[in-house]
Symmetry: C2
Subunit: 264 residues, 2 copies
Amino acid sequence: MAEPMYWQIAQALRQEIDSGELRPGAKLPTELELRERYNASRNTIRDAVKWLASRALIETRPGQGTFVVERLAPFITILSADAETGLGGGEGNAALSEIIAIGLTPAADPPDVGIKRADRVLAEQLSVDEGAQLVSRYQPRYIDGIPWSMQTSFYPMNLVTKGADRLLEAADIPEGVIAYLKEQLGLVQVGYRDWILVRLPTEAEAMFFRLPDDGRVSVVVICRTGYSDGPDGPVPFRVTMSIFPADRNQFVITSAHHPPEADG
Amino acid sequence: MAEPMYWQIAQALRQEIDSGELRPGAKLPTELELRERYNASRNTIRDAVKWLASRALIETRPGQGTFVVERLAPFITILSADAETGLGGGEGNAALSEIIAIGLTPAADPPDVGIKRADRVLAEQLSVDEGAQLVSRYQPRYIDGIPWSMQTSFYPMNLVTKGADRLLEAADIPEGVIAYLKEQLGLVQVGYRDWILVRLPTEAEAMFFRLPDDGRVSVVVICRTGYSDGPDGPVPFRVTMSIFPADRNQFVITSAHHPPEADG
DNA sequence: GCAAATTTGTTCGTATGTATT
DNA sequence: CAATACATACGAACAAATTTG
């Protein structure tokens, strides 16, 4: 027995889960019962349980027991532009993306509006000086009441001084900011760049999404920079950072012609 | 003291890491030293260390000690088509994506070629019957000798019977399969759909990428379906699944006109 | 190359605290 | 309030990996 005992116990339990003997939502035997079944100490059983819990196969609930996790049906978000319907995958309300909503009702809290100085990354993305004033608009988003994404958009302050006053109002812009800026300033988004990365959630993100306290669920960060046409080429005018829990979100991007029946 | 001791110790150590007192690569005090410093038992110290290790802030090396992790500079992969240079972001050799390579040398092992029956997902993606014969071509990819991605492409068998014999050869197709299929069969990729998700690595993936044994590093799965023009609209002819470790890979997608200086 | 010292990994036992039913 | 179940914390011993002498 080259492998440690807790590992072997974990594999045995995993096999029960994989085989369907223990179905999602099912309660595992208590630590004391497992202690007897595998003839190991309670600490060893706990090590086995932790091995499975850190891989998101089971979860422990103090006072209740240990349960096989129930996989959430993933939300699928369309990131791409449909060439026919326009740029930016449904930037109507959701600035970044549109969900495949079949009987699901997306919602958003009114935005928190603030003024922020550009850090190095934002300054580079928006082609402004580091420390330049930006308008930030933060919105938590929900699907069927479940926290879905945290979205923050940043705009150079000169858009406000040029007349886009509503950027500073802490109220939703129902037609979408892209449409508002077009109407108000004639600013047209001619393209965008998405930058995707995966990292561990901050404490605030873990709290909002109700992620487990350990670091087993990452978040996907999608940072979209929108461009308008300028005299010397494209000029960035908005950066949107959207945060999604990685365990229940997937993304689809289409390029050029694609078939309408597009899901997995 | 509402918070447990191991948590407080973990926070104290995290603060030392965040403040730069403990720099990346630095060795933490040994468990015995921490035991004295915090006046706790070794098991409690170990719980604190585990808390930090599960969040990828530190790593333990048996026989050596505990060290602050050194962040790898992320590889950035371009997923999008540049409208001018053609479809599919440099599908020359790499089927899916091109890396921003500044002095980096990408490489790939010769492909493993196999025949596989389509499972439900592949059958749907490729619009073939479940169980239909597919050619699979698997290639591990490296950057500067470091495992970078695992890439598997699936093609309907009828491409072979129509004349694309080299799909069955266990040899690289240097000009790229897209170019080969165009030359050989006149098959043109007119678009594609990328499907992105994050999940825990399989055992084989963890081994190939040398990921830590615990489940703290996820992988990003990018599933690209390529389409050609058919009499009744686009027809899928290839599915490529690429696996990347989430801790050292980022992705960029551009849409429409975008500025040339595009990185973060 | 080997033996000793160092350091983390595994396993046991025990006691007490906290959350839920 | 009592019972149940997981969480925290202590102590101890031995094993395995690595470095050092």
